[in-house]
Each structure stands twice: as C-alpha cells, then as structure tokens.
C-alpha cells in the first residue's frame, strides 16, 4: 500500500485524519525507502521484508488509532528494523569484498608457485643436460688420453722411443728393417712397421712426421746418402699405405752425417745404421709442452707443403678430428683454444 492511499483511507473513515503524522512514522517511511534501494534487497531480503511488515503494522496502527504511543513505538521499531536490514547488508558486502581479496591473493600465490616451480624445473633440466654434456666431454677426453697413452706404451714395446727438442723420436734399427745394402723392406720388418703405423695413427693422428734414414760410415758418402734416402722413402711409403696421411709425413736421407755412435766399433756402426721417425709436437707446444713459440721448421724439404690443416692447439686433446685452425701458428702458442 502506498503512503498516500493509507492516509486517504484513514481520512475517509474519519480515523486519525486530523492527526499529523508523527515524526517517528515519517522517519520509518524514509528509513524503509532508503533500505529498499540499498544492497539489502540483494543480500538479506528477508530482513527487508521484516522491516516492511513492521512499517505496515505502524501504518495500520496510525490509521486505526491516530497518533498514539503505540503508533509512535511501532513506527520507532519499524525504523530500527529498516536500518538494521540496511546495516547488515553493508556488513555482508564488506565481508564478501574481504573474501574476494583473499581469494585473489590465494590465486596469485598459486600462480607464483606454479611459475617458480616451472622455472625451477627448466633450470634443473638445463643444469642436468649441461652436466651430462660436461660428463661426456670429460669421458671423451679421458678416452682419447687413454688411447694416446696406450699408443705410447705399444710403441715403446716395439721400438725405442725418446724425447728430444725436435719431438718424439722413434728409432728403428736398420738391421731389423732391411737386408744389408738393400732398400726393400724385409718381410719380417713389415709386421713391426704395421704395429708402429697403428700406434702412430692412434696416438698422433694429426702430428707432422719426418722419416730419416741413417747409415754408418762404411762406403762412400754419396752411396750412403742414396741408400739412406731410399730406405727412408720405403718406410714412408709403408706407413702411408697403413694409415698415415701422406701430407703429414716426409722422408729424407741423411747418410752418415748424423752418427749417434762411434763408427770404429761394430756395435757403434750397427747403432748408426737406423731409421728414425720424428713425430713433431703440435704447433705451440714445444717438446714436453714447455715452449711457447710455434713448432720450428729447421729443415724444410721441398716435399713438405704447408697445410691449411694445422695441428690441434695447446691444451686440446689429440682427438680423431682434424680441425682447420688458422689462428694457431700466427698467434702466440700460449693462446687458449676457443671453447
């Protein structure tokens, strides 16, 4: 029932028409109107309904009795009920707001945890694969070193191996390789030489090598020069046909010019009759790895051609790969390899 119709009705019946509306009832009507427009309709409509009933009761009382204490009390109570409904609604809104904020925070926490856990996972993965890579690199290096070591040991078993400032020198007695005065390899020598070839391929695949033939002082210098040259070539050919790269190995005869023993005794002469294979150290590494200057080319026979493929730089293992590293000879030998 609207406000005007209630008054109209009361006036027609002659009840309370003469009375002015008590302020409590005015306040109650205002309070209810305000509550109705607010959030109570949404959050606590039952309380709003209670307030409405109270207002209607007050209106009825005013209509029946006019301005009595009962009308005023009922209007007073109706006003409070409307205000209570309104206040509760606002409280509910605040609580819902707080709950929403808490939910948002929780969602943010969850998202952050997800994000961090993903980052952690991918970091762990990256770390693991890095470690694996390092491990396999280490294993490769170890393997290569082991092979090189094995080769050195093998070589030491079959031939005399020494270190000089020229590099590693493998000395093969002439009597084992050739018949007297001949430059054709003995059949028995071939087995030994193939072992030497194998050891060299395994241990020093990238190194430059020089085969040098030597004789004793018996016979003319010319004759000895020619014989030593032929013998050196024979050994070289054999090694090349057994895996040594042709552009890595040269041969020359030195005749009787480099005696290592006294030619006046048979033992001395026997020692002088030899073939030496000099394995030059990689560029940048002196004998025993001490020097910092590049490998010295003291005797440069015309047969040696400068190769674009340089030996592996200092610090890198003698692996099976042949690398083009133009930086190696021109820079100082102490430069670190690019990782």
């Amino acid at each position: 029932m609207s406000k005007t119709s209630i008054l109209g009705f009361a006036c027609v019946l002659g009840f309370g028409c003469a009375d002015t509306i008590p302020p409590e009832l005015v306040d109650a009507r205002q309070a209810y109107a305000r509550a109705q427009e607010g959030p109570a309709a949404k959050h606590n409509p039952s309380e709003l309904h209670t307030a409405r009933s109270a207002l209607e009761k007050a209106e009825t009382t005013f209509e029946d009795e006019g301005d009595t204490f009962k009308t005023r009390d009922r209007a007073y109570i109706a006003m409070r009920k409307a205000r209570i409904a309104e206040t509760h609604a606002r409280t509910i809104e605040s609580e819902q707001e707080a709950a929403k904020i808490r939910r948002e925070t929780e969602q943010l926490e969850a998202a952050t945890i997800d994000q961090m856990s993903n980052t952690l996972s991918s970091t762990q993965l990256a770390l693991r694969s890095q470690r694996q890579e390092l491990e396999s690199e280490r294993a490769r290096r170890e393997e290569a070193e082991k092979r090189a070591e094995q080769a050195r040991a093998d070589l030491a078993r079959i031939a005399q191996v020494g270190q000089t400032e020229r590099g590693t020198v493998i000395t093969l007695p002439g009597g084992v390789l050739f018949a007297s005065g001949k430059s054709k390899l003995l059949p028995s020598a071939q087995a030994k030489l193939s072992q030497v070839a194998q050891a060299l391929v395994m241990g020093n695949p990238d190194s430059m090598m020089e085969v040098e033939g030597h004789t004793d002082s018996q016979g003319s210098e010319q004759y000895n020069q020619k014989l030593s040259e032929e013998r050196a070539q024979a050994v070289r050919e054999y090694l090349v046909s057994h895996g040594i790269a042709a552009d890595r190995i040269t041969a020359q005869g030195l005749g009787e010019s480099r005696a290592i023993a006294d030619n006046s005794s048979p033992e001395g002469r026997a020692n002088n009759r030899r073939v030496e294979i000099v394995v030059k150290p990689p560029a940048g590494e002196g004998a025993q790895g001490a020097a910092t200057t590049p490998a010295r080319d003291t005797t440069t026979p015309s047969s040696r051609t400068p190769s674009a493929d340089m030996p592996t730089p200092t610090g890198a293992p003698a692996t099976g790969t042949r690398r083009s590293d133009p930086a190696a000879p021109s820079t100082s030998g102490g430069s670190k390899p690019i990782r």
């Binding site: 009390d73 109570i77 606002r90």
Partner: protein, 123 residues
C-alpha cells in the same frame, strides 16, 4: 486492579479494550541481553552505535520504572524499543568491524603481492 489472566486470553485486536496486560518480564530480559551483546561487540567505540546503545540503556531504565508503576503495556513497548535500539547498535558495531577487516585484508594483500612479485623478479 488489572486482571492479567483475562488479557492473556484475548486477541491482539481487542487489546485496547482490555484492562490489564501481562508484566513484560521476558521482553525486559531480552532487551537487557541485547544491550549487553551490543556492548560486548564494541558498540561503545563506534560513535553511531554508542548513541543507539545509550538510547537502549535509557529505554531499559524507563521500562523498569513503568513496570514499577504497573504500566505494563507501555513498559512492554518500551522494552521493544530498547531491544531494537540495542540490535541496531550491535549491527553498527559489526559493520565497523567488517569495514576495518576489509581495509586490513586489502593492506595485507598488497604487501603479499609485492612480496611475491619481488620473489619472481629475483629469478
């Protein structure tokens, strides 16, 4: 003298014709309990709630006096006024608490948010 028994059996519509009215002990007790509840909820600290609570307490005293004077019907209505004033005081006190709660939650959420963003930025 007022006859209580007769009034207890009549319907509300005839109450104006009735000479007696029951002593509003229960309603008085309810209104006092409501006032206590509002007080304990901290109504005294919230200005508007404090006003309502004061009204309730005055009305309770007025109701007691009316009971002494055997004005039971008036006393009854007075207790009801007191009860709803106290209830409003309580509602206002709770509203204030909820408002402060939101502010606190919002502040805590902001702090946590910046904490979390710092943590992720460190990665």
């Amino acid at each position: 003298m007022k006859t209580h028994l007769f009034c207890g059996l009549t319907s509300a519509a005839l109450i104006s014709a009735c000479a007696s009215y029951p002593r509003p002990e229960e309603n008085l007790a309810n209104s006092m309990a409501a006032a206590r509840g509002a007080s304990e909820a901290g109504a005294a600290e919230v200005p508007e709630a404090q006003l309502q609570l004061k009204l309730a307490q005055e009305e309770i005293e007025a109701a007691k006096k009316l009971i002494e004077d055997e004005e039971y019907e008036r006393a009854d209505y007075m207790t009801l006024r007191a009860y709803y004033d106290a209830e409003l005081a309580l509602a206002l006190a709770r509203e204030e608490a909820a408002k402060r709660g939101v502010e606190h939650t919002a502040r805590a959420a902001e702090a946590r948010k910046s904490q979390l963003s710092q943590a992720t930025n460190q990665d």
